[in-house]
């Protein structure tokens, strides 16, 4: 397969093709009649997904560096270029985005009835923006994609969202905008530092990375600017307040992409930029204890707040805060297991939370309510829906054999060495997850069947099965046999660790031992 792909030059055009195809797809949508819009969008996103699948085989797992790189000058006097590439970290983010997009399009089939052309054009634009964020290796390009992706999501929430959509849309926009503009200032400061050394400015990722050791006193401030932008996106605990609003008000497709892809941009940003650029600051004792504390607080707080939500969509929204807390913990523990675990959490969360949002959307289309109290005992009426809902919920809880388990287990395993107490507390988050999801499951699909509306619910249609079954298959596969995925990310995770903890091989073990000793009473 890899040879076949190489023979057609796949590695030289694939990233550009992935970025350009959705934008080209916007044109026929704008030309064709409105009722054709969703079909065009579905075909474009399916072709995009099939194209991106080649990455799975073409990617060389033995190398941790960038692959499929393309460099085309853009503003040469500023050292700005169209530089893109994929490594074992972004590979899965790209595949996740291309998979979730056709699923979301299919999930919006009946839900979006107004201004369909606009909706599907924005979805395709969003796809380009998301992929751009994950493949950009030039900070200028990255910033452009990072911001441009805001506009489609802003409109998707604001036009097709729920009753409080205006507030949610502007809150989402402003939160992200504050962080990203400060990040722009930090990028420009670093570019001038690079220019002072090299003689000419450069926005290339590699050049800024090499500058990491020369930042001096400005490093904490620059790190703070980057970290703020990414922490808002993740979202890390006190900065999460935009998330429940945006998730709940967004239409189903918007929630799926927010949870499935956009949140990962935050953790991806830490892995790609914030930590490798400023390893000294990021792993200084003060920052480490702060981030680890906030991550654990996020795990527990997200779970506790999810528990008391009457609206099941809000419950899932808060569960994202909890899950992403695991990812942050794994990133900051900076061991091979924990980083791989964080990546697995990111992927698993993309599958299970997206599926939950889609299933809730299907319930909402039938009943026009998402209140848990409005349901009860529907397992007897809609057995297929209930089966899939249960599997997805169990995957989200982290039941062994399903995808959620692999990531959380690896994070906890890898983090226990450096941060035993924090990891111990975070472990209870898994229990809380079982509490809020199983309790919700019990109240929605078990318990006695009440209400005439519940009695006449229709089970999943063929289209709806096509929406969720691929995700369920993915959950089972990732849960039972995650090895191919872990293999592909291992070299890049090691590469990341070398950047994040220079001299890891020599100093890590004693450091961990000392810290563990210090933590013992």
């Amino acid at each position: 397969m890899a040879e076949l792909l190489r023979s057609i030059g796949y590695d030289r055009w694939i990233i550009t093709a992935l970025l350009a195809l959705p934008l080209l797809g916007v044109l026929p949508i704008l030309w064709a009649p409105a009722r054709q819009a969703k079909w065009i969008a579905l075909w474009v996103t399916l072709i995009e997904f099939v194209l991106s699948l080649g990455l799975w085989w073409a990617y060389d797992p033995s190398s941790g560096g960038m692959q499929f790189e393309i460099v085309v000058p853009w503003l040469p006097m500023w050292g700005i270029a169209y530089r893109v590439g994929i490594d074992g970290i972004s590979l899965f983010m790209v595949l996740l985005s291309t998979l979730l997009m056709p699923v979301s399009v299919l999930g919006s089939w009946r839900y979006i009835t107004e201004r369909e052309r606009g909706f599907y054009s924005l979805m395709l634009t969003l796809l380009t923006g998301m992929l751009g964020v994950f493949v950009a290796l030039d900070l200028f390009l990255f910033y452009v994609f990072w911001e441009v992706m805001l506009i489609p999501m802003y409109f998707i929430i604001g036009i097709w969202g729920g009753s409080n959509r205006l507030y949610a849309a502007i809150k989402f926009f402003l939160y992200t905008f504050v962080g990203s503009l400060l990040m722009l200032v930090a990028i420009l400061v670093m570019v001038w530092q690079v220019a002072a050394v090299r003689g000419s400015p450069s926005f290339a990722y590699q050049d800024l990375l090499e500058n990491a050791g020369r930042l001096g006193d400005s490093a904490p401030w620059l790190f703070a600017a980057f970290a703020l932008a990414f922490a808002i996106k993740v979202p890390v605990f006190p900065l999460h307040t935009w998330l429940p609003d945006a998730h709940v008000e967004a239409p189903t497709a918007g929630s799926v992409l927010l949870a499935g892809v956009l949140l990962k941009m935050g953790t991806y940003g830490f892995l790609r930029f914030a930590v490798p650029f400023f390893p000294g600051v990021a792993h200084s004792p003060a920052v480490t204890s702060l981030v680890v504390t906030l991550a654990v607080v996020g795990v527990i707080y997200g779970a506790l707040v999810a528990m008391v939500q009457p609206d099941v969509k809000k419950l899932v929204a808060y569960s994202s805060v909890s899950h992403l807390g695991f990812a942050m913990l794994g990133i900051w523990a900076a061991t091979l297991q924990s980083v791989q675990g964080a990546l697995m959490v990111m992927i698993a969360h993309g599958f299970s939370t997206s599926a939950l949002f889609l299933l809730i959307g299907m319930l909402y289309e039938r009943r026009h309510t998402r209140l848990i109290d409005a349901f009860g005992g529907i397992a007897r009426v809609v057995p297929v829906f209930s089966l899939i809902f249960t599997v997805t919920a169990l995957a989200s809880i982290g039941l062994p054999g399903l995808n959620g388990f692999v990531g959380e287990f690896l994070v906890l395993l890898g983090s226990f060495g450096p941060h035993p107490i924090a990891t111990g507390i975070a472990t209870t988050g898994v229990i809380f997850a079982a509490v809020y999801l199983l309790w919700a499951l019990q109240r929605i699909i078990f318990n006695p069947l009440v209400g005439s509306e519940n009695e006449s619910l229709k089970d999943l249609s063929m289209r709806e099965l096509w929406v969720v079954v691929p995700l369920v298959v993915g959950m089972v596969w990732l849960g039972l046999y995650p090895k191919p995925v872990l293999d592909r990310m291992e070299a890049s995770a090691n590469h990341y660790l070398q950047l994040a903890r220079p001299g890891l091989e020599t100093s890590a073990a004693p450091a961990i031992a000392a810290e563990t000793a210090g933590n013992q009473p």
């Binding site: 452009v144 911001e147 441009v148 926009f173 402003l174 503009l181 200032v185």
Partner: protein
């Protein structure tokens, strides 16, 4: 290279070719209007003739530019460098766009006096002189020519009390500002014995500024601060921008601001090459105050026109931030931002004039609700303009803001950069609700926007501007080069000035 001796009559005439051609054009239009000033057709004729005059003046400018005219001999009244040409081209383009946007507007608003175009042309002559002036008196002359014409234009809708108020306010404050400026010029003349910028620069480059020269610098900054609407000299702006006919507001925001800032840059560079330590802190404070106040007050506006007026104050703050570094990059950023802001703001006011039916005072967030569904083209164009004003990537506005930030950070001035980005976030708080109202709120009455429409000519102007905003936002190399050349030309002049004995 085409050396022109500015001390001979022929040389001076050649150097002033664009201004002279435009003055002649204005007089021709005035003459034609003495016979034909009754019908809407006459007004249109005046408009097209004015456009022709602007094109001829543009050809004059292009001749000087392409032939590479350079001054031969002693420093004189008018500059012949890239900075003048680029700003001149920008001003002429803004004026031409204003003419085109006014054609049907005047008819709709029953402002059928063709002298409108004559005044616009004369104001443009004044504007052309400002960035080109090599002598404080020429600068002042240009400023006053422009001001007097714009006072009348602001009050052009003589049936509207707001328009009259705008004219009076602008006139009184403008006179006040001119007095400051003139007093500053007098003091600088007293300190140096000359009004020629280069000669002043040569005198002031050696020693620290005397008290008299410092006072002169301060008064100049105050006078120009009024003209470019920097806080705390901005009080006239909202009322004047709101009261004036909308195309005139666009002209004031785009062209007058461009000429004011370009003139300010030239005076600071050529007269005070060594006094950076004195004017930079003042500009820094003015810039921060302008950005903060302009953006915060804009948040609370309901009327779109008034909101854009406050936003133009905020943009003056960003432009002052581009003046602050005093480096080649800073002046490139200034020129780039003037281009970006000029194109965007003209298109915005052009769109606003399409939305107003009973005068644009009434265009509020509520009245544009549902526009996105009823008039998708206008709503999309306005959204793109607003994203450009916000400085969003993919638009020319972002390139401008990025350049200003780069220039500011080159000098390690992180405070100014952070204030700039944080106030930009604030500006999202008033630009986004407009987009939100257009796309995300239903219109309050059915068929609310059936009368909204752009005349064909205005449609072309706005479509072209929006295209420029998007295309140059992605492929900005040409404008970056242009801005860089003009800044280099400006600083090249100082190089000469400092080298001169």
């Amino acid at each position: 290279m085409n050396p022109i001796d500015l001390l001979t009559p022929a040389g001076a005439t050649l150097a002033l070719l664009p201004e002279l051609l435009l003055t002649a054009g204005a007089l021709v239009v005035l003459l034609v209007m003495s016979w034909r000033h009754r019908t809407a057709g006459d007004s249109l004729l005046a408009g097209w003739l004015s456009l022709l005059s602007l094109a001829v003046a543009g050809a004059g400018l292009a001749y000087l530019w392409v032939s590479g005219a350079t001054p031969a001999g002693a420093p004189a009244m008018i500059a012949l460098d890239g900075f003048r040409y680029v700003s001149g081209a920008l001003i002429l383009i803004c004026a031409a766009a204003t003419v085109l946007l006014s054609l049907r507007y005047l008819e709709r608003e029953q402002l059928l006096a063709p002298e409108f175009y004559v005044l616009l042309l004369l104001a443009t002559v004044g504007l052309l002189l400002m960035p080109g002036a090599q002598d404080l008196m020429v600068f002042f002359l240009g400023l006053e020519t422009m001001s007097v014409a714009v006072y009348v234009l602001a009050g052009y809708d003589r049936r509207s009390p707001q328009s009259a108020e705008a004219a009076l306010k602008y006139f009184l404050i403008g006179a006040f500002a001119s007095a400051f400026l003139l007093y500053g010029i007098a003091l600088i003349y007293g300190a140096t014995g000359t009004t020629n910028l280069v000669a002043i620069g040569a005198k002031l480059s050696t020693a620290p500024l005397s008290l008299m020269a410092s006072l002169g610098l301060g008064l100049l900054l105050i006078g120009l601060g009024f003209k470019v609407a920097a806080v705390p000299f901005h009080m006239w702006t909202p009322d004047v921008y709101e009261g004036a006919p909308t195309p005139v507001t666009g002209f004031m925001a785009a062209a007058v601001k461009a000429a004011g800032f370009a003139g300010l840059a030239r005076i600071l560079v050529e007269c005070f090459p060594a006094a950076g330590t004195q004017w930079k802190p003042i500009v820094l404070v003015l810039s921060i105050a302008t950005m903060v106040l302009g953006n915060l007050v804009a948040l609370s506006q309901r009327s779109l026109k008034r909101m854009l007026a406050y936003s133009s104050i905020a943009h003056a703050g960003y432009l002052l931030a581009a003046i602050w570094p005093g480096s080649q990059l800073g002046y490139s950023a200034l020129m780039l931002y003037l281009m970006a802001y000029g194109v965007t703001t003209l298109a915005s006011f052009g769109l606003l004039s399409a939305l107003g039916r009973d005068g644009e005072r009434d265009v509020t967030l509520d009245s544009i609700a549902g526009l996105g569904a009823a008039r998708p083209g206008i709503a999309a164009a306005l959204s793109i303009c607003l994203f450009s004003l916000l400085g969003f990537p993919g638009t020319l506005g972002f390139i401008g803001k990025w350049y200003i930030l780069t220039a500011v950070l080159e000098q390690h001035q992180a405070v100014l950069a952070v204030v700039l980005v944080l106030t930009s976030v604030v500006s999202a708080g008033y630009y986004l609700p407009v987009i939100m109202a257009m796309y995300m709120k239903p219109s309050r009455v059915p068929l609310a926007h059936t009368e909204v429409g752009l005349p064909p000519v205005a449609t072309w102007v706005i479509a072209l501007s929006v295209l420029a905003i998007l295309v140059l936002g992605v492929i900005p190399i040409s404008v970056l080069d242009l801005a860089g050349q003009s800044a280099q030309a400006l600083l090249g002049a100082t190089g000469r000035a400092i080298a001169a004995p």
